[in-house]
């Protein structure tokens, strides 16, 4: 006879928030919208859902309110549900407010073997956050344990996403290095300083390219 157990953890999901803001794209973002739409066939503008959600997330504080998703839906002339179902499917879209710095630590196999426990402990210690998915009291940080980020040969590693856009990888970490990086960010230091890859000046979300 199979044994039936009921200790499954049930996640309640995130309920999106409507703020009644009636958001609009900034002038700069509107130009990006136009450029993003140019990448896809005219009758296939729905392809721009993910790129526009990226744009909205960085425009409106690093997370997606109902208002922000509504703006994307209106821009693409789609029903709201077509945007919401995408936003809630992908883990990088935040449906609740996050800190200025979203610290994501990989704890999958290669990072675990190379000591991600110490990285998680150091992040919790510096930020005062107790569990994955929570924000720090000062609103500066959010900490999330994440799945493999694809930098396994440089493990352990973490990724920090800035509320207004870019994100960087910090690799070959130890607890001391984590303290140094987070302290640097807290003091308003340049996020790219400790990143393991210096980006080109091109922005992969809103381009600066296209013909």
């Amino acid at each position: 006879m199979p044994t039936i157990r009921i200790n499954a953890s049930v996640s309640s999901g995130q309920t999106p928030r409507a703020l009644g803001l009636g958001l609009q794209w900034s002038k700069k973002a509107a130009a990006s919208v136009k450029e993003i739409l140019g990448r896809y066939p005219v009758e296939r503008s729905r392809s721009a859902v993910i790129p526009l959600l990226w744009l909205a997330q960085r425009e409106f504080g690093g997370w997606l309110s109902v208002d922000a998703m509504q703006l994307v839906a209106d821009t693409l002339e789609l029903p709201y549900i077509r945007v919401y179902e995408v936003a809630s499917f992908y883990t990088m879209f935040n449906l609740k407010p996050v800190g200025k710095f979203h610290v994501q630590v990989c704890t999958n196999c290669s990072c675990m073997i190379r000591g991600s426990d110490a990285i998680v402990a150091a992040v919790k210690d510096v930020t005062g956050i107790e569990a994955s998915g929570e924000n720090s009291a000062d609103g500066m940080f959010t900490f999330t344990e994440v799945e493999c980020l694809g930098a396994c040969v440089a493990a352990p590693m973490m990724q920090v996403t800035l509320a207004d856009g870019p994100l960087h990888y910090y690799t070959h970490l130890d607890a001391g290095k984590v303290r140094e990086i987070l302290g640097h960010l807290k003091k308003g230091g340049e996020a790219a300083t400790f990143a393991d890859t210096s980006p080109a000046k091109h922005d992969p979300i809103c381009g600066g390219y296209g013909g």
Partner: protein, 427 residues
């Protein structure tokens, strides 16, 4: 006897070690874009025949022969629809990080591959779907595309031949399942990334219902050097049916983790000892090796000492080459904890479309987690195995299979470890 190390001129990715400039200047110095015009003037059928003869097999995990895949595309004059080449850069299989280094250290290899690929397949537009986390890497890729466009290597009149190819980068947003080719197409169309039933196959009905070929970054980037060089340049490496060079990502308990381009069919032990600085604590301290990313069942130390790293040799050992992401675990590693973590990963990433996967992968994780904590009964160890067999092969895509194989691999080699914990708790 050890195999000779590849010289720079033998490599498809000479800048994988980041020793030179990733921009177009450095790429051209390494021989990039030389001979591109000649390839684009070569008859399409001849190119596909050469690819078939080269024995190149897809580098994204499944190992499907690339030349054959490309030959499935209809002729543009027959299909009467736009054609697409989509590059899968949604690298997310735990242990795998080779595409990241291609994108940031040698992005032009991919751009040149996209030019050749699009033209060969009759596509005027190509999309590169990059996982959302590779932001800085995508930035370099976009810069490389821009550089190529400025030099007339992309656009409406490539190399002055009147050939038209445009390439766009599309960022994902964090979903492992989008690495499955039809889920990737769904995602690119602006939907949830849930795999499609096949048939119809993408070559007939892919992106926007048009003929589409989807290939991994490494596969696409290897096409131009294969076409430019003599056939033997590629086929001299590896055993028949497994030819060429390959990037191996070696991580975990080794002294010098890294991405290495090496000949196919290299002995695993040589890869670990000669390239990755050896197992931490010495070869005798080896416990197990995951040979091709988290989906491939692990090898025990005895197998790891004799196996060759290619598709057929690993298949014969009951596992697979997958993405050639080698995760090494020495005896200090809590192997069961690592495997439970991998099971948790699959629970998190199941797209929820098929019930055996949505319900079953979570069940397997919870059962495994409990057993490895020492709770449960020996009978449940059998139940765990039976469960994996009832999930495998019963879903739309191969995700659930990939989630079950590592569990089966753990039970095959390390069942004793689990039983020991259960017994200890009962006693």
């Amino acid at each position: 006897m050890t195999l000779p190390r590849l010289k720079k001129e033998d490599m498809c990715f000479p800048n994988l070690d980041n020793s030179g400039d990733w921009g177009i200047k450095g790429y051209k110095q390494r021989g990039g874009y030389q001979g591109l015009k000649e390839i684009l003037q070569m008859p399409v059928a001849e190119r596909i025949e050469k690819l078939k003869a080269s024995g190149l097999r897809g580098r994204g995990g499944a190992g499907f022969p690339t030349g054959m895949k490309w030959s499935f595309m209809p002729k543009p004059e027959v299909s009467n629809k736009p054609h697409y080449l989509v590059c899968n850069a949604d690298e997310g299989e735990p242990g795998t990080c080779k595409d990241r280094d291609i994108l940031r250290y040698d992005p032009h290899t991919l751009v040149e591959g996209m030019i050749v690929g699009c033209h060969t397949l009759g596509a005027k537009v190509g999309y590169i779907y990059v996982r959302g986390e590779y932001y800085d890497e995508s930035s370099r890729l976009v810069a490389a595309i821009e550089e190529a466009r400025k030099e007339g290597l992309l656009g409406k009149n490539i190399c002055g031949l009147g050939i038209e190819v445009e390439v766009h980068v599309h960022l994902g947003a964090g979903a492992y399942i989008c690495g499955e080719e039809t889920a990737l197409l769904e995602s690119l169309e602006g939907k949830k990334g849930q795999p499609r039933l096949k048939p119809p196959f993408p070559a007939g009905f892919g992106l926007y219902g048009c003929p589409t070929t989807i290939n991994n970054v490494e596969t696409i980037a290897q096409v131009p050097p294969i076409l430019k060089n003599k056939l033997e340049w590629f086929t001299r490496w590896g055993r028949p049916g497994n030819s060429g060079t390959k990037i191996f990502s070696v991580s975990g308990s080794v002294n010098k983790p890294g991405n290495f381009e090496a000949p196919m069919s290299i002995p695993l032990r040589e890869l670990i000892d000669e390239y990755a600085g050896g197992v931490i604590g010495g070869w005798e301290n080896l416990q197990a090796v995951i040979p091709g990313g988290s989906s491939t069942p692990m090898l025990n130390a005895e197998q790891a000492g004799r196996v060759l790293m290619d598709f057929d040799a690993l298949k014969a050992e009951g596992t697979g080459l997958g993405t050639a992401a080698v995760v090494v675990m020495n005896k200090q590693v809590d192997l069961l904890r690592v495997m439970v973590r991998i099971a948790e990963f699959y629970k998190h990433e199941s797209c929820g479309q098929c019930t055996p996967c949505r319900e079953g992968v979570g069940w397997v994780y919870r059962l495994m987690e409990r057993l490895c904590r020492g709770e449960g009964t020996l009978e449940e160890v059998d139940q765990l195995y039976a469960l994996t067999k009832k999930i495998e092969g019963r879903t739309i895509c191969a995700f659930a299979d990939g989630a079950m194989w590592p569990v089966q691999g753990t039970l095959k080699h390390f069942r004793g470890l689990i039983e020991e914990r259960v017994r200890k708790n009962v006693a």
